[in-house]
Symmetry: C2
DNA sequence: CGAATACTTCGATTACCATCGAAGTATGAA
DNA sequence: TTCATACTTCGATGGTAATCGAAGTATTCG
């Protein structure tokens, strides 16, 4: 079977600058309206509407109506991973304008990757949890240990609720900026939500950086030292 | 920093059907000439030449002259991984024509992913090596154990030669068809070369399937049972 | 040295797609 | 019920890029 046509169909969806801007905006995992995405893409509503139709028909995003608003999000974590891998290639091939914009160090430090924490902090979280015996990594797969169940329960994660979700609890995700793994899956998402809830971190208003407060960062470090 | 433009630049390179066919042909890790790639893409030499120029300028492939021949290969494993992730998205989104062509089960069973074994056999190799204690996976990273050094030396792998390469010995790679990991890195590549050398397996002439002989498959199973 | 082969470059042609103004539809608020 | 807002659809326009025939360059072979 020829794989080229399938690659071309997916890649051409992301290959238009306006659509790519929309996809990049959606990497944060947030659902955005058509108007917001038009803004992110720098095109009119009509153009945005056309592009969103293509992305939806192509299966990269999913839309839902809520009154007169249409909200869109990435259709799955695999799309986020694909976009992350494109950024990795762009960075290596000299396309990524890593020298421009003040948020780059912020993005490398902590960012949202679809629904979980990526960047240095994300990698640090994953590696610390594993080193402490809270996670066991094996065969490239990762699972929560008994110890980890206690640890995460103490940290305020409702594991029973996560277990009922139809997605892996734990999963690794390759971090292009660190070239190491961070934690994805429903536990990865829950941990990030918990950091927000505790106000140790907040998502950046305009991008997908995750901003740790001074005290939040200290508490985070302390947590990982357990 | 806006990530959309970088995504668009990379994605649009892969988004043309002719270029995508060339990239797909190169996933096998083989270097191919401009004429061969023109054939794979179904375009004339002039068109192929233009496309190859773009792919090269964009950093996805690297070309080298040898007499009047120009040979091309993917510029790195990260490009292969990106293409594999696109296929993963295509498969989930219903684009991959998995119902056509007789080689699909073959491709799922064993194929080349840039330079290492992917598919069921690739996943099986990785998982067996880890279960037997030849590889240790941790934090999503994977390394060869002492036991593994003996094992691979016995199998005819020159570890000293691999150690001198400027790339990781062991690395995991997500297998889109199995949704689990297989072994990449220089060890992954060497293991596949060894399977070829022993004639347990051979690459398919026309695609990127890896064809195990009957006896080769038995020997492979026996090897993994150690 | 001439012929053959591999590949590149030039230039013309064509098709496709993104764009937005205008108009229309659906939903919510006053 | 009317008005405002969010979004979609229509249709015209312009720009871009893929395509290949023709010609040119580099390399290899007889």
């Amino acid at each position: 079977m020829k794989e080229g046509p399938s690659i071309a169909q997916i890649a051409s969806l992301a290959g238009d600058p306006a659509r790519a801007n929309m996809l990049a905006a959606l990497i944060s995992g947030k659902a955005l309206t058509a108007s917001e995405l038009a803004n992110e893409a720098g095109v009119t509503l009509q153009t945005a509407s056309s592009h969103l139709g293509k992305l939806e028909a192509g299966g990269l995003i999913a839309g839902v109506k809520q009154g007169r608003h249409r909200y869109f999000r990435l259709s799955g974590g695999d799309v986020a991973e694909m976009l992350e891998s494109m950024m990795g290639v762009a960075a290596r091939a000299g396309h990524l304008r890593t020298r421009t914009g003040p948020s780059d160090p912020l993005i490398r430090k902590a960012r949202v990757c679809y629904d979980h924490l990526a960047g240095e902090m994300g990698v640090r979280l994953f590696e610390s949890l594993t080193a402490a015996g809270n996670l066991a990594a094996r065969d490239g797969e990762v699972r929560l240990t008994r110890r980890g169940e206690s640890f995460t329960a103490e940290f305020g994660i409702d594991l029973a609720a996560l277990a009922s979700q139809r997605r892996p609890l734990c999963k690794t995700c390759l971090d292009w900026s660190m070239r190491r793994h961070h934690l994805a899956g429903s536990l990865g998402a829950a941990l990030l939500e918990r950091l927000y809830a505790l106000k140790w971190a907040a998502r950046d208003k305009h991008g997908r950086a995750v901003i740790f407060s001074r005290s939040g960062e200290a508490k985070f470090a302390k947590l990982l030292a357990r």
